[in-house]
Amino acid sequence: MKKNDPIPTSRRTLLKAGAGFLGASLLGGLPFRSFAQAAALKPADRCFVFVYFSGGWDQLLAFDPRDPDVFTPERVAETRILPGYNLFTDGTAPFPITPAGSNITFGPAVANLTKHYGRMAVVRGVNMTTLAHEEGMRYFITGKRPIGAAARGSSTATEVVGQMVPTVPIPSIAYGVESYNDRYPGSANALRVSRSKDLVDTLSPSTRKLDSQIETELLALGGEPVTCDEAALSAGGVGDTYHTSRDQVLQVLKGGLSEKFNFAVKNTENNAVRAFYGLPDAGPYDSAAGRAALVATALKLGISQCVSINLVGGLDTHFGTQTTHLGNLRTGFNALSLLVDDLARTPHPSGGDFMDHTTILVFSEFARTPLINATNGRDHHLTNSCLLMGAGVKHNMVFGHSGDIGMAAGLVDLKTGAKDSNNGESILPDHIIATVLASAGLDYSITRVEPLKPLLAT
């Protein structure tokens, strides 16, 4: 397990002494805190994005498509699979997509994301073992089978930041997604937001202000060297952490980071973000593309290491049509494609681009039945798929499979990925989460399973 080195106990003292000396001689008595603020935000060396498609997605439209010429309505009694691609009413081509050079065949909804086949691995035939929304979602968020509907263990994002202890100011953001912490310090808790405005508020200066001169005096008073009393309270770490946090607040506020998340503000950077993600000038920005832009901003500016996001909803289409589900899925995948484009075009300070330093897990709580119900929708189905992208995993490959009769979860040799109907095992969300953790060299023992090693890059 990776552990950060403990902060030397004399660090604060040394910094104070150094700042005092340098402050007096070089910086004209600049207060210690101001001196400490010189450190700039730096993106985490390894980032994670957990993308949740809410409601249960149709895998025939996404990562586990079927050939409509083989799985025809005439054979449905035999196959129990009806792709339904001919039911699209929006002009979408009624075929799966296989880009040139790709080893992965995608459903029609994956749309623009298919071009990133060289950065992804698809896992098919994931057995969710539940058809309840909350259970399935919490199972994938934690990698542990919930007890009833109650989540067990910590979110994977919490595990990541709990183990890696990043120095970014808000290590984990959970946007419209649940987050759990059952064994890590509070610093591993996700900042939970339900709207982009919540995040903007967190990063914005207080709306209640004193006179500017008094504000300056107040800041200077807070920047004075600590007293004996304060030092005694700092000795246990709480005071130190609090002062560091206050420095970070000042740094974040000074950096005007709220403006960077408030895409309605007109400036060169935001104009570029709006143009890239196709966002309207005046909002709203809680669309799938707006959320993708928020994820990219949080990672690129070094605000967060992990972002968990509910990218798109409206997928629980028991009564919907194929076209409704297709449209909602495609909105999510197109937004995800933009996010990948953005991360791939942005150089990371440690070398390469951000996609080289970011692992993305895309999941939903379960899939939808391969047969269409009497109300033209699809119900809940156990056999799911998920997508792994970016750092630490192999690319352009498929692991696992679903059966050609009723899309049952296929049994595979977990060590090789080969079909093994006799001695194989089901792929569970536990394996996926173990793989995500192992992809960054983190301790995955909480999942109590081995990762899917054929998927790991090293």
Binding site: S187, D211, E217
Partner: protein
């Protein structure tokens, strides 16, 4: 013969035991008789502070959200309305559904919203005190006699008295020495500036209140 021998041994034993018990000196006038610790020997002394980063006893802890809410209400004289209005979970309160453990980590989010909260309650309280004539009804200006008038006219002793009162109220320990001087200078400058602003007399008191409330001594125990 046996009885004699047994008697002799018992007599010797009794004499031996008596020798081991030192006779307590009679108490002198005005001295209380020493009372033994009913819990017995307490054993292990406190650890050497040098061995635990200068700490004596347990490590300081951050207030929980409930403690913080009550502390603010008691120290400032009014509750932080926004705290229960949605910020409690953000600041660390466990809901025992999604978060099982109360977080007392003074992280960035806590620091940010505590600053916001300090401004909310301190500015409101300071503004309210402008119209309160009786010092007993006021909190942030309790030691200032009479109605709240020009704060620049306070003597240095009065400023120090106010700051000592407020620091004791907020932290449980008074400002003293150089630190008191520094805070007094801060208050004097803030008061001078506040009087120059139209209707801004309360700002000096609010500024001191914010500084006290966002100090680590307020949120640790």
């Amino acid at each position: 013969m046996r009885r004699l021998l047994l008697f002799a041994l018992l007599a010797l034993g009794a004499a031996g035991c008596g020798e081991k018990t030192p006779a307590a000196p009679p108490p002198v006038d005005g001295q209380l008789e020493p009372v033994g610790n009913p819990h017995g020997d307490m054993g292990t002394p406190l650890p050497d502070p040098e061995l635990q980063d200068g700490r004596v006893g347990r490590s300081p802890r951050r207030l929980t959200v409930t403690q913080l809410a009550r502390s603010i209400e008691v120290a400032v004289g009014r509750p932080w309305a926004g705290l229960e209005g949605g910020l409690a979970t953000t600041l660390g309160r466990a809901d025992y559904a999604l978060v099982n453990q109360e977080s007392t980590e003074p992280n960035l989010v806590f620091a940010k919203f505590l600053e916001d909260g300090a401004r909310e309650v301190c500015m409101a309280q300071a503004a309210a005190e402008k119209s309160q004539a009786s010092p007993e009804a006021r909190v942030l200006s309790r030691t200032i006699p009479g109605p709240l008038t020009d704060l620049r006219k306070l003597s240095d002793a009065q400023v120090r008295e106010l700051l000592v009162y407020l620091s004791t109220r907020f932290w449980g320990s008074p400002l003293q020495g150089d630190e008191l001087t520094r805070w007094a200078t801060f208050f004097t400058k803030a008061a001078a500036r506040a009087e120059a602003i139209t209707n801004g007399r309360d700002q000096a008191l609010a500024a001191v209140c914010i500084a006290l409330m966002t100090d680590s001594r307020f949120l640790t125990y």
